[in-house]
Symmetry: C2
Subunit: 385 residues, 2 copies
Amino acid sequence: MTAAANQSGRRPTTSRRLERAGIRDVAAAAGVSITTVSDALNGKGRLPDETRSRVREVAERLGYRPSAAARTLRTGRSGLIGLTVTTYGEEPFTFTEFAYFAEMARAATSAALGRGYALVVLPASSRHDVWGNIALDGTVVIDPPDQDPLVSELYRSGVPVVSDGKPGNCPVTAWVDNDHEAAVLGILDHLSEAGARRIGLLTGTSTDTYTRLSTEAYLGWCAKVGQEPVYETYPAHDPAAGAVAADRLLARPDRPDAVYGLFDPNGTDLLAAARRYGLRVPDDLLLVCCSESDVYATTEPPITTLSLKPRRIGTTVVNLLIDAIEGVDSGTGVDIARLFPPRFRTAGTGPPPGTLMPTELIVRASSQRRSPRTTVSPPRLPGEV
Amino acid sequence: MTAAANQSGRRPTTSRRLERAGIRDVAAAAGVSITTVSDALNGKGRLPDETRSRVREVAERLGYRPSAAARTLRTGRSGLIGLTVTTYGEEPFTFTEFAYFAEMARAATSAALGRGYALVVLPASSRHDVWGNIALDGTVVIDPPDQDPLVSELYRSGVPVVSDGKPGNCPVTAWVDNDHEAAVLGILDHLSEAGARRIGLLTGTSTDTYTRLSTEAYLGWCAKVGQEPVYETYPAHDPAAGAVAADRLLARPDRPDAVYGLFDPNGTDLLAAARRYGLRVPDDLLLVCCSESDVYATTEPPITTLSLKPRRIGTTVVNLLIDAIEGVDSGTGVDIARLFPPRFRTAGTGPPPGTLMPTELIVRASSQRRSPRTTVSPPRLPGEV
DNA sequence: CACTCGTGGAGAAACGTATCTCCGAGGGCT
DNA sequence: AGCCCTCGGAGATACGTTTCTCCACGAGTG
């Protein structure tokens, strides 16, 4: 083996530490060329099965593991996909803080792995330039703000970017988002049907697409049905502010008789606020909030939630991204037409193709006037089954 | 520029597509050698500040981004750390399913990023060999089972491995774990002091360290105080089985008057089972379960939980791993003595160094006989703030 | 004057793979 | 007999860094 290695003209160093076997060593041991080894292991080239299996066996015996770094350098593919959330905060890294992110990230990871890619979770910015140190085939960006410099930088360096959340003004390869307008309108209609006369909204101050589109849909609906808008805003990343805003909303003189909260904790906050003001849910106040958490199935009363189906989003985003990565290939650009079937594409010329995904309203007691008699805090009597 | 590139003797191809600027291009544009560029950008070598800044400026102007792949190939460092959970299931990828994993992974990610590394979440196994395709500087393994082939393989190929959970028979570089024995004994004592006469245990069937050590501690305690063990086991990854096991435990003729549940959902399951059997908590049944979820702060009654402090674990694991990675350096092995101060090392000769971290018992109403009168569902009176 | 020594920097060898090009040897066909 | 075609495989190059080695040169120094 040493002879073979030297014969191939390298490792002139005297101190032969134990090193991982390279493709050269396999070639020498199998008595073939490097090309043959590469072809045999990767199933390329034209080789008789006998040679192929022999090479494979030798490689196995030597414990040969191809160097991912070398392969990446050569092929330009790393099999790595970045996942980042840019909007919410910097360091504390709110990932998995909200159930939405956790679910979405999990689905994305699974989808990526299913296609042979791995996910790297990255912050929008960090002290060390981690981004520059990692070879990424593409990036998934969650909720990019307008003019996100990170996205622009990535796009400029040729890395495909697919965003979760319709991008405001970022040049992304593609995007996926829920149909927020339809979702909000659906909820408002649902609440109206349940008897709501004045529907309030608990929304955020940030400018991300979700907040913006949802709020706009609400305002538009108000204008259409002739209701005066009743809403409170707060910085969505501040949990304490949410409770305060919920309180404010219910303290208004024009107190709504139904509220939709855009963020996950709004449900409990609104419920608590309602209790403070002596409002019974759903009798005096109808409640819906957007959340992926199943704790709302067991609150008192259970709260109707809007699910954004983060699993579907995560899966779709990753698949779109990988399609783009593998489509870039040798051509000068992406064959977008093939990647995104028209049925899912928004009409338009220049802007990147987007996919709108439906949401799901999980109707529970909190938004039904005539609900199966959910008593407020039923004190179950000690007794038998 | 093209002239410069050709002058350096490459790119004989006629079709000059737009390519990312390489270090050569920067060198040519700045009128220095490649070495100088590399040194200037990496702050190595001996260069006058003037040269350094000039090179930096040229690189900036050209939008030069060093190739992570090439750097990795050359240096043998990728800046990537694998994170994997081997025990629980295969495909569904239970990550972030339990709050423990989510918290731990988040802390690990943060800690890694803080030191310039990124985390890659990987499954114990997948169809595509993702492991082989990624250059990993090290790996964090959560709860490795005995004789984990993955860990062995990693260790054999020289990748440092630090495990969360004391490894049974795996050759890891280091490990971190909670002091499960102390935790269980503490809980049992706590329950005894609260008046428990017969303490039951809800535990798992799997052989991971956590389950094993906890169960052994329980059995040992029973033997010591002379109580007959009362416990039920179930496959921890099956949520439905947990409810059934909880029911079994409370249906026994030798029904315990206090129960400790080893897994996150046990609290709600036990609570539900207690209701079914008409047992009041904590009056008829004391309850403690191990969980990171804060829903137990708002259950009826609030349930005492044991927190494994996953954030601390995640941070420690990653720091230990990076210490090992950066300690391996050029020497033949790790300078372990320097990395792990004696105060945290378990005594022993051969086995890998381990760190035991404390847990925290969050005492709530469910484990206190004389609790501050937590009324069942206090109906707050309608009124003002 | 010969010498060392520090400064600033250039050259070139890896790192380990994938792949493009090319080549020899048979074998069948005309 | 000459020619082409396919099979099986070898050689060499490029991917883009980092880093080891070495060199030129000017200034002190004995």
